[in-house]
Symmetry: C2
Subunit: 444 residues, 2 copies
Amino acid sequence: MMNDPRIEELLDFVRFPTVSAQKIHRTDMLACADWLVAKFRRMGLDARAASTPGFPVVVAKSLRDPNKKTVLIYGHYDVQPADPLDLWSSPPFNPIIRNGRIIGRGASDNKGQILAHIFGVEEAIKEGELPVNVVFLIEGEEEIGSAHLGTFLEAHRDELVCDAIAISDTGMAAEGYPTLSYALRGIATLEVQVKGPAMDLHSGIYGGAVANPVTAAARLVASLHDADGRVAIEGFYDTVQPMANWEREAAADSPVSDDAIAAQAGVTVLWGEAGYSAVERVGARPTAEINGFGGGYQGEGSKTVLPAEAFFKVSFRLVPDQRPDTVLALARRHFEKHCPPGVTLTIINGHGGDPFFLDPTLPQGMAAQRALEEVFGKKPALTREGGSIPILTEFQRTLRHPALLLALASPDCRAHAPDENFPIENFLMGIRLNKALLRELAKS
Amino acid sequence: MMNDPRIEELLDFVRFPTVSAQKIHRTDMLACADWLVAKFRRMGLDARAASTPGFPVVVAKSLRDPNKKTVLIYGHYDVQPADPLDLWSSPPFNPIIRNGRIIGRGASDNKGQILAHIFGVEEAIKEGELPVNVVFLIEGEEEIGSAHLGTFLEAHRDELVCDAIAISDTGMAAEGYPTLSYALRGIATLEVQVKGPAMDLHSGIYGGAVANPVTAAARLVASLHDADGRVAIEGFYDTVQPMANWEREAAADSPVSDDAIAAQAGVTVLWGEAGYSAVERVGARPTAEINGFGGGYQGEGSKTVLPAEAFFKVSFRLVPDQRPDTVLALARRHFEKHCPPGVTLTIINGHGGDPFFLDPTLPQGMAAQRALEEVFGKKPALTREGGSIPILTEFQRTLRHPALLLALASPDCRAHAPDENFPIENFLMGIRLNKALLRELAKS
């Protein structure tokens, strides 16, 4: 298996340090887009790296046969930042194979998953039986909010016309368990910068008379949740839709236990909003999470300083019918209202994306469930995912056809974390799944 | 003035990057101690760098004439860390002179001040009129809690016997204003480490089901103060002595206005415990200050992670009769009691020091006030200082004579902060003050 050229190509793909959040990686981003274009051209597809005001979108199309249905396959070649680097057991952009898994930043999210689809199509072409027209759309800004993809979809709507959208950027409910995700949370991010004195002050000479911006920032963070783990921003839950009965039943049937989630996360006890299981908390309930907080002395030992400033970064995960703009406005009002005296706030809105919801009994949804059952040999789990693919609602709105989320990532893939990994088994199953899916969608 | 050899020597002294908190500077520390020993030997004093389990203590003595009183002059050659480096307008250990001030880490705290005393003694010796026996004691661990100085004082009590202790490591009440500080706050420091999941997690996949250690740390920080700015740790104020009437009058007579403190700190509004002026808050009231807080993503842009851990560093400033050990025990109980579910705490106690208090009407205190009035031409302010010199109470306990705190630092000296500075004027006044002080103490 180690000499499988498909795996060698995946390793090559992961070696590009395509961190879209960091300007220093611009050249790597462009090189990776070119690598994809070359791959598609070798497969005989019409491919290009289409420029945007940000990073290019790679588009690749088979000849469009009007007698066939068309499937758009979406993925992304950008990845999350790799830090903290010292917690990786091997270099994030020099992938290795260990225990049957490829370890590297982006191995699972999303390079391994999208490349499985690419190989599925390549094999179908070689076998002379591509049952549908395919359009690949692989962007470079998913991890920073897909800022330019919406405009791109609008501008290229004609060449992107399709009957279904296939995406593998989600996690299996359990290892090797076929999974169709019918909902994803939306997202809204912001950063709060808290400014106090003009410079770091001696904590003895000024401490007690000047407000400490780190303490103020901590008080703002503490104000975000009540004692029951609910988000304490006024109006935050106003538009949240309760789960339907069939959804609570699907969640109860989930192959994922609370214990399994705790074990994957490496915690002894779970935490969260009262009245919901862990599966429901991450899939169907909104959150406010602190992604980073910094202020004052970060080094060894002590430094008796009253810091000049502090910051914290928040991401909200949203469920239907919450909207990012509304949540960001509510959050801004909350922070301004709760701002302690003696400091000033700068609130910077980040990227946002609507929550996604698909009725899994639509024809395309049924085709996806059949393909999953065929390849994995059991009835797929229907899940709500906690993560976000902000552009999904844009796809459905612009292209007017359902987006099918077929999970290939393992539950312990460590996406966004050190030692992100992708099982070679999932990669090979993904290639088979692509072929079964295109066949079933051709019939749907 | 630029060619004054005394200023050149001060620049040389500041060039040693003597950061005692950072192991990498060990060689610099030893070199600086040797530099001081060489200086004292050139002055004709009996000098050595006495080793300790930490950094050496420099001891230098004149011949002990039994007919003269003996004055011990204390200072320190170690400095605070220089970071954040990017906020310095010139390199911290490559001092420059601008607007009559020497800018560099340690210029004010404590190299400029102790060197003024050294030059005072050097000039008196050259002029043939050293009116008292002098003992210099210059340590290298003041900024990290003087861990080994107490033992050193005990072990060398006989050679350190004296009638008064002179220290310039405090700030003038106002620019050029003679100041005798009769009280200093004590200190107690700790670091709290908050651990959550085994690794950084995807905030979408786990957010809402796993406790966030940054949020937990922020809630602990927020629990430290009540809405009136008082420390909310149970028992924290139990042993705090109220200010005497003469003290509140001295504070009201202070040349320092709340507006001046706000201007120095670069804030538009002050903050603090209700019922006290800013001068009283920093001098006579205890505090809990967050010196640093870190957790999760610190870089550019956003990273949607649920961090594995967070930390914060706290320093408490103490007033009579609070004790560091007691306060640290109360704080530990507070954090353990308020620890949110789903995370675990590790609490690491740091250095501590008792608060200091001296009756300024003792003969040595009156001699110091006369010397200050003679040199500065006005009646000195009697102040309580917010900072800490942890070893002070040890001096008084071991050597059984009063410690006199004669301020030479400017109110805007930016001690512990970027662009720390020391006016050349203060340096020259300090040399004169040393000579006047030794004369007055000889008569006291």
